[in-house]
Symmetry: D2
Subunit: 141 residues, 4 copies
């Protein structure tokens, strides 16, 4: 499996990302972009993407970026996730752009920028730093 | 509105928490417990609650705990969210127990413990520290 | 070496904690309290402990709490550190009370409460969640 | 006072940064670089910069970067600090490069990259995301 095939497979078979409608925009080793289209089940009462949806997309993108940078048979699972919310997530599409800052034998660190499109202002609506642990990949159905 | 009524209303009218099935277990000023029953749309491919669902419930519980501690007409919105994942979220129900550590005029800080039931081991499956900003409550529909 | 002897030794031989004047109040497996007396080299321009001194004491206390919970020959090094500042660190003594939330073969997570004495108000002036990695202990001189 | 004069003054009059030997490399609105030369009082027992020194320099650099972006008479104080340690801080000089991600009326968010020189590898030895609150500047002596 190429890194992109792996990310597409894990995103498609995961209940949460499949149900939310997460799309894989691109995936190469250490760098993954995911997108999520606006729909009522993802919103805060004010009509913007819910903060929990933003953090969830950051988490999944970080796991994908780290895993694509690992040797075959390994997967990265989140140890901790820190999200700074910079602006309301107002647009029609939420994008998470994740890239690895560190890839080690036991720990990976990933930076994620979250943007909405069309963008209201300049720059991301949130940023995240995510720490992950490297474990053996379980069999994927 | 009592704090509990407010939390119930905001949780029910919010697309994300309504769609996910978030329930308000209890809500008093500065202290809120939410629960979420296991269902396929909330899971990781391994069958546990997805990390993004865990962080999303933490975020919503933190906002609720802070808001119930504020004067009427104010609401707390997340500035940043830090989640430590301690164990797989394996149970049938995910609980988020949030309590305020600080309630100020502009900033609140909330600690959240996340547990699953039935619990596999001792202690929470995740903990979070959440920083929030105090803003005027928009009209709720 | 007992856990307490180990923490005393590492704190005493470390340039930073020795120079700052860090004292070990107590150390048992998974639970360590350190203290630091006020002196000009540790302060912010407003006369309170500098935020960087607070985060530094949290970091050292977390490492000590995790290491005392590990098998002999292992030491915990910080992977990431998240500190929430709740109130100015105004007192004469800064205390860091660290306890492990998780102790694993590769990762530990520690919660730290920071207080000053005499305390101005109730509760800690800061709290921290720290993630650490388990490595082989290098030889201590 | 220019932003650079302000950062130099606050860094020089602060007990901690003065005693540690923090130097202001550059300071312009929203972007500040600080440096710290290796000396025994700043080190971990293994001879590298102590993690608490790294977090302390990140904290000070973030406050400086945010404050230089604020209107005169305002200063930014840290609300929370998240540091990811990527590699041992092995070099002779520790540099903190801070730039604002968000500057608001009540909240600022700053990203900091920490490097050592000469650099062992590529990239930073640590990164930080720092949230700050805007308050009135107290009189500086």
């Amino acid at each position: 499996m190429t890194p992109e095939q792996l990310v597409r497979k894990v995103t498609a078979i995961t209940g949460y990302t499949h149900a939310a409608g997460v799309e894989v925009v691109s995936a190469e080793p250490g760098q993954v972009t995911l997108s999520l289209a606006k729909k009522p089940e993802l919103l805060q009462f004010n009509g913007f993407f819910h903060g929990g949806v933003v953090s969830g997309l950051a988490d999944h993108a970080a796991g994908a970026a780290a895993t694509t940078a690992l040797p075959a048979g390994k997967i990265a699972v989140t140890v901790d996730l820190h999200v700074n919310y910079l602006a309301p997530a107002k647009g029609q599409t939420l994008l998470a752009k994740a890239r690895t800052l560190q890839v080690g034998g036991t720990i990976c660190v990933v930076a994620v920028e979250l943007e909405t499109h069309p963008a209201e202002g300049q720059g991301p609506c949130a940023v995240a730093h995510v720490t992950l642990r490297v474990v053996d990949m379980p069999p994927l159905k």
